[in-house]
Amino acid sequence: MKERIGESFVGVNCGHPRQATMRPQARSGQQLSGRTNSLDRSRGRLLQTGQWLCDNRRVQARLIDKTKVTCIKWVPGSANLFLVSHSSGQLYLYNEELPCGTTPPHYQPFKHGDGFAIHTCKTKSTRNPLYRWVIGSEGCCINEFAFSPCGTHLAIVSQDGFLRVFHYDTMDLLGAARSYFGGFLCVCWSPDGRYVVVGGEDDLVTVWSFHERRVVARGQGHRSWVSVVAFDPYTTSYSEPDNAVDFSGGSDDEGSILQLHRNHSTNPIHNSSVRSDSKERISGNRNSVSGGASNRNSFGSDFNKMNSAAATCYRLGSVGQDTQLCLWDITEDLLKQPVTCKSRTTSCVGSGGLGTLGVNGSATSGSFYGNTVMSGCNNVSASSQNNTVTSKFKDQLMDGTTTFATDNHILNNSTVSTMVPSLTQRLAGLGFGEKKDASGAHKRNFSLPSRSGSSGPDKNITSGSCRSSGVHRLSPDDPMRLIGTGACPRFDECPVLEPLVCKKIAHERLTALVFREDCFVTACQDGYVYTWARPGRMEEGMAAINCPGVLREVYVVSSFALASFLFLLGLFLVVTLQLCVGRNPAPPLHPSSNGILSRRKPELPHSFMAPSVLEKENILQEIRHGMLNVELRDLGGS
């Protein structure tokens, strides 16, 4: 739409150690050009960037790309490089300190691969942009991109329905996934860098495993397009070293009981970065105390013993155009379901010709993306089958764990990433499924639709052979050929997650979701920003409103719009951020106060979201950004 670059950048910078993203404006509908992005920098730095683009170099930047900016991020580990994506399907790397030049840049090819091309500027002196990445076909909008927590990988989602994951430095395409249909709109990495979660126009939340290079699960719960996905690092639980031992060594009662306590850190206090042993024990006790309420515990320890393999559990949040917030638990036992393998691997063995299915399915899809990926996949599968960790693999694990720099996690990951579960694990999984059905109360939140035991393999064999013949017929860039592969499994070939909580929280479509330690923040198309306290944090949060605090976030919506709503922003930020700033060490968590972010209760989300928990008073602040909204619309319309 209308030519602008950098005119309405909205940046959010938080003094928070981890990345947070906030997008209080439109993805579609309103003619907004910029989107907020988090930048792990100081506030001043961000302001500079905004001004850099807005004031000084706007004219020059226009020469580079006139289409609207969809996403902007600093390159991790670099002082002055940042990436800007455009709806034209181009991604530019800028150096803050370099000039843009007064003429449109001429590009020369630098590197290209399947579905992407990278160019450099063809000039004697170095100038901006340093690189231009062209993703997908001509004019397919890049909707968002995200760096992995370790900073080495870059995930890009675009309107052509592809997720592409690159090694940022080598610019190699490591893997790709395809939406069920429609464009992918948002992307995020799990805190440990092992999974990439994307949401899109297929109303699904898709979990893609970085190590396996395949789609491992899909979440179905939104009623419309998914606009933001975000992991909640505070509720994501991590396994302990003894679990790792337990995991590899089979079933060790003591270990799994320990794990039972540790994994059930329903409380948001369970922050993996800072934790003392005593605290740990307390939380463990707390869980066993609240066992009646926490369904997991009520499920019995034998179940947990069996599932000792399920070491970690990721908490994911998503908001969409359906005005709903969904919370998902992605558990290891789910991710390790040998879904495609279960029927497929057997069929491969039998028929031989279909050897590209199952675990190797990822290799099939990988082969479309060039040899690098192919070898990558092979490495992965080889390593998994031998239960060894190749050096390459290990590197990634190391990378993935840098954010949670504890030695334990490396151990954990290496064991957890075994992709061929032992027989006991499989049995555990099976037993689990049965229990789920039998108890009914316990909703483990996954299902395999229309998978009948007997007809499954046969059907798959036939469909497999159809597919292989179909592959030859289709043109090489046709996404249709990906259907049924690891990049885009059929709906019944992939575990389907159900949301833990699915709640309408606004009247307009939601545009942002940020998890913080004691709250999470959502923003909505009509200009409201809501801050939701975590259970048990409510009173504390209220008290904090009156405390003095430091302004830790700043929105910059273009230079001329800035002044006009600084006041409102100040108001909002002081209020919300004080909540975060003024927090105390973990407050006592009462079983009764387990609310929105605690573990699931059985059955319906509605009962889970008891009115007492999520009533209006729990919205700590609700600020009408009337002006903000007006300003943004004005920007879009001009």
């Binding site: 509908g29 329905g161 429609g182 126009e201 297929d202 009623r223 419309s224 397009w225 059929r490």
Partner: protein, 352 residues
């Protein structure tokens, strides 16, 4: 775009608009006819079929032409451009002149679509019948056997299977039925995917609406679910935006925001579906503008040669794909005039 029919290449450069018809006959509501013609015409496979159909039958048709004088002028004009396309126009014109259509005043675009599909089908069948009666006219080209479905059916027809499970004896009975479009209910802030999923939700037949179970030989409570068994080449989705409201005692327009992606796959296919992986692309949307069913205007947006065109009576504009989102609907429930997608046409990717 050009087609080669019987060795002759036809360039489709005729007047893009069928609003010329309004010159010949004053219809109260030409909008929906026009927009639907555009949709059908611009849909490549339909156009090909129409053109090839008309090409095949041209000599025949000319002899029996019942053109009015006015049409003749139009014909003469168009003839210089492309005779075949003229026949396309003529088919549409024939439909407009047909008896059924005369009775037709204020029309709903969806009803009209049904009418159109059926009528074209009838014309073809009649033609086919004629040809089989006088086979010598056909220059050795032997006509297709009678019961074969016409191309209109080939394009639009899909099969729904409704599975009913009797809650008494647990017997599942399924029944197949043809459809030419799917009529889905709309909810606020949803996507067409969700609407389709709701379409296939299990409903319980109880109360007055019990199911007659053959096994139990009585009326029983049952669960029913409709799923798609055969996916059509062109999937027409009719959003039920006109709801009867008891309190107002009339139909009102539901302007809910329903998003539709440019690409679609169906979730609600049955297990034995023939082609469940079909990927659909959005090719056309009929848009209702206005505040109610009895007033307003129809326009259409059509994807033609990679561009989106907006047809508003005799105006044709090229639009950006991003403007499609203007036609999703309104998020507020305040009743006011809106421009909302009403019929969506998705074309299967594998048939092009």
């Amino acid at each position: 775009m050009s087609f080669t029919i019987m060795g002759i290449e036809y360039e489709l450069t005729i007047p893009r608009n069928f609003a010329v018809f309004s010159k010949f006959k004053c219809f109260v509501n030409i909008g929906e006819c026009n927009c639907l013609f555009q949709v059908l015409y611009d849909c490549k496979i339909i156009a090909e079929k129409l053109v090839s159909y008309c090409g095949k039958n041209r000599p025949n048709k000319y002899a029996t032409s019942t053109c009015t004088n006015d049409l003749y002028h139009c014909v003469a004009f168009c003839e210089s451009v492309c005779n075949t396309v003229l026949c396309v126009i003529k088919i549409f014109y024939q439909i407009l002149l047909s008896e059924e259509f005369d009775n037709y005043m204020q029309q709903d675009a969806h009803e009209f679509l049904n009418f159109l599909i059926n009528h074209i089908n009838e014309i073809i069948l009649a033609e086919r019948h004629q040809n089989t009666c006088k086979p010598k006219q056909n220059n050795g080209d032997s006509p297709a056997p009678q019961p074969e479905p016409t191309w209109v059916h080939e394009i639009f027809q899909g099969i729904l299977t409704s599975e009913t499970r009797c809650l008494n004896c647990e017997t599942v009975s399924s029944k197949d039925e043809d459809f030419f479009d799917l009529q889905v209910d709309v909810d606020q802030n949803t996507s067409i995917t969700h609407c389709l999923r709701c379409f296939s939700n299990t409903e319980t037949l109880c109360g007055d609406n019990k199911f007659k179970c053959d096994n139990c030989c009585s009326y029983q409570e049952a669960q029913k679910r409709m799923r798609v068994k055969k996916l059509p080449m062109i999937l027409a989705l009719h959003l039920k935006r006109f709801k009867y409201m008891e309190q107002y005692n009339r139909h009102i327009k539901v302007s809910h925001r329903v998003v539709f992606p440019l690409e679609l796959r169906l979730f609600n296919t049955s297990d034995d579906a023939v082609n469940p992986d079909r990927m659909y692309d959005l090719v056309a949307v009929v848009i209702h503008c206005g505040s109610g069913p009895n007033r307003g205007h129809y326009i259409s947006i059509v994807k033609s040669h990679g561009f989106w065109l907006l047809f508003d009576d005799d105006m044709v504009d090229k639009i950006d794909a991003s403007t499609i989102e203007d036609f999703y609907g309104l998020t507020s429930d305040i009743q006011k005039s809106s421009e909302t997608g009403y019929i969506l046409f998705y074309q299967s990717r594998d048939c092009t």
